[in-house]
Amino acid sequence: MNTSSFNKQKLTSIVSLLILTAGALVILVPLLWTISTSLKTPGEVFGDNFFPKTWKWENYSRAVTAIPFFTFLKNTLIILIPVLIGTVFSSALCAYGFARFKFKGKKGLFLLLLATMMLPGQVTMIPMFILFKEMGWVDTFMPLIIPSFFGGGAFNIFLIRQFMRGIPKDLDEAAFVDGANRWTIFTKIMLPLSKPPLIAVAIFTFMGVWNDFQGPLIYLNSTDKYTLALGLSMFKGMYNVEWNMLMAATILIMLPAMIVFFVAQKYFIEGISISSAMKG
């Protein structure tokens, strides 16, 4: 009896592993095929071989010149770096305000903050476009950068605030007795202690900017201002851009996101768990 239940357990775990392996293949095969296409000759792209006969690494160097890759990369970074600074700093600032102060209307304001997370972006997208158009900011990077300095997003504030509430109050109260003001407490005590959520926010922000498509699509008109995500899609189907080169460019855009993911996986998993712990 014991051995049969043991065997049954063993069988279940073998079957489970087989299912997981099949699932993993479903994920990996398309990726591998994309990589292999990026290394083929144009003729091989239409052929039946999974792998190229000779690996054409020069597809990559041809891709980055056929598509103005480095201009797009530069534009993406011009947006990314200020947005990172603005988001991390201003969301930490607001999180500290919500985590450590008792002021009139705080509860109501915090509820308002949570409520804004439910608002679909489409409702504000059109008036924002008109606002930025009237300001002459269309076809500049400003509409994609400036909003991040105003609170850095409700979810990010929430994430950091939850963490800051877990930091013992004795720490800042002791500093206060020693004559430190709130700004010093914020920069010297709270910020260094809140590294984990700050890193998580930075990673999510990086991913958000790197992946953003609709934002650049709406605000950037000239090709020399395109970001990588927007630029890649615009070169789809152009006569001088072949599939192998397009796939090479696709891999190049995936790569930074993948590297960040593998280096910082634990922050991804934690951040996602926290977002679900909010339960709406």
């Binding site: 969301s91 059109i126 696709t250």
Partner: protein, 298 residues
């Protein structure tokens, strides 16, 4: 010490967010509300806003493409939300086993959800290509003649739903963390009482992760109404509007034909639909969501 926490300095710290709320949320919402009852011209700008009453809404309810976009979005949501949830729960349960190599599998399943949507779209345009895409080649090995996927109006939406399975890693991770919160004793007690795998699944696992299911359901519905990049890049709504998602139609109205008033009205209808669905899910949740008394008191 009371002095430290009970003062107005707090207002200064939340000021950036509050200004942002006024400038980028509440202000635009009011403006958008007004716009939805107006016509706006791209050339003359704000000065020539013309109040047209309910015209935009009346025209929307006569607009065939509006109904088409609702249909596409609803079919997508009704098929993909349950499909992705069930697959995610099953995979999450497998990934929750204590076995060697689980960390590696978790990484693989989660990986596609960090790939930029544009890159995923480009990949899948290739994969779904009727002649040289790997999907139809693979089907060919089994003697199946694959359809033209994105070029065929009756398969294009289905192709996008299938493609979405590739990126359910996010949902899997949320379920995995939900499953890890289920106390082991419950399963052990049930097993002692003679409950089999199916009974344990329906009487323990499902009730215990019902808050997570609830969260994912809301997110899934909202996600369907915000689906954009893949549809824009891969099919641009075609063929024959078979993938004209609501958000894509809204974008076309606002930024292709510059009917900003009309598009604003569309955005408020979208908002109302999301609200109604969210309320339905929240209202009905008391019947099926089990919270383990983990309330967060301020």
């Amino acid at each position: 010490m009371r002095n430290l926490r009970s003062e107005r300095t707090g207002y200064w710290f939340i000021l950036p967010w509050f200004l942002g709320l006024l400038l980028f949320t509440i202000g635009p919402m009011i403006f958008s509300f007004i716009l939805s009852f107006s016509n706006w011209d791209i050339i003359t700008g704000v000065r020539s806003i013309e109040f047209v009453g309910l015209d935009n809404f009346i025209n929307i309810f006569k607009d065939e493409l509006f109904y088409q976009s609702l249909k596409v979005t609803f079919i997508f949501a009704l098929v993909s939300v349950p499909l992705y949830q069930i697959m995610s729960i099953l995979i999450a349960m497998l990934l929750n086993m204590r076995s060697r190599g689980m960390k590696f599998y978790r990484l693989i399943f989660f990986m596609p959800s960090v790939i930029p949507a544009v890159a995923v779209s480009m990949m899948w345009i290739m994969i779904l290509n009727p002649e040289y895409g790997i999907l139809n080649k693979a089907l060919g090995w089994f003697g199946i003649q694959g359809p033209a996927w994105l070029q065929d109006p009756s398969y294009a939406l289905g192709a996008l739903i299938v493609m979405g399975i590739w990126g359910i890693g996010n949902t899997i991770i949320i379920y995995l963390s939900g499953l890890q919160g289920v106390p082991e004793e419950l399963y052990e007690a049930a097993q002692l009482d003679g409950a089999g795998i199916t009974r344990r699944f329906f009487n323990i696992t499902i009730p215990m992760i019902s808050p997570t299911i609830f969260f994912n359901l809301i997110m899934g519905i909202i996600g369907g109404f915000q689906y954009f990049t893949q549809a824009f890049v891969m099919t641009n709504g075609g063929p024959l509007n078979s993938t004209l998602f609501y958000n894509l139609y809204l974008y076309n109205k606002a930024f292709v034909s510059y009917e900003m008033g009309y598009a604003s009205a569309l955005s408020w209808i979208l908002f109302a639909i999301i609200m109604i669905f969210t309320l339905i899910v929240i209202r009905s949740s008391s019947m099926w969501v089990y919270y383990n008394g983990d309330d967060d008191k301020d």
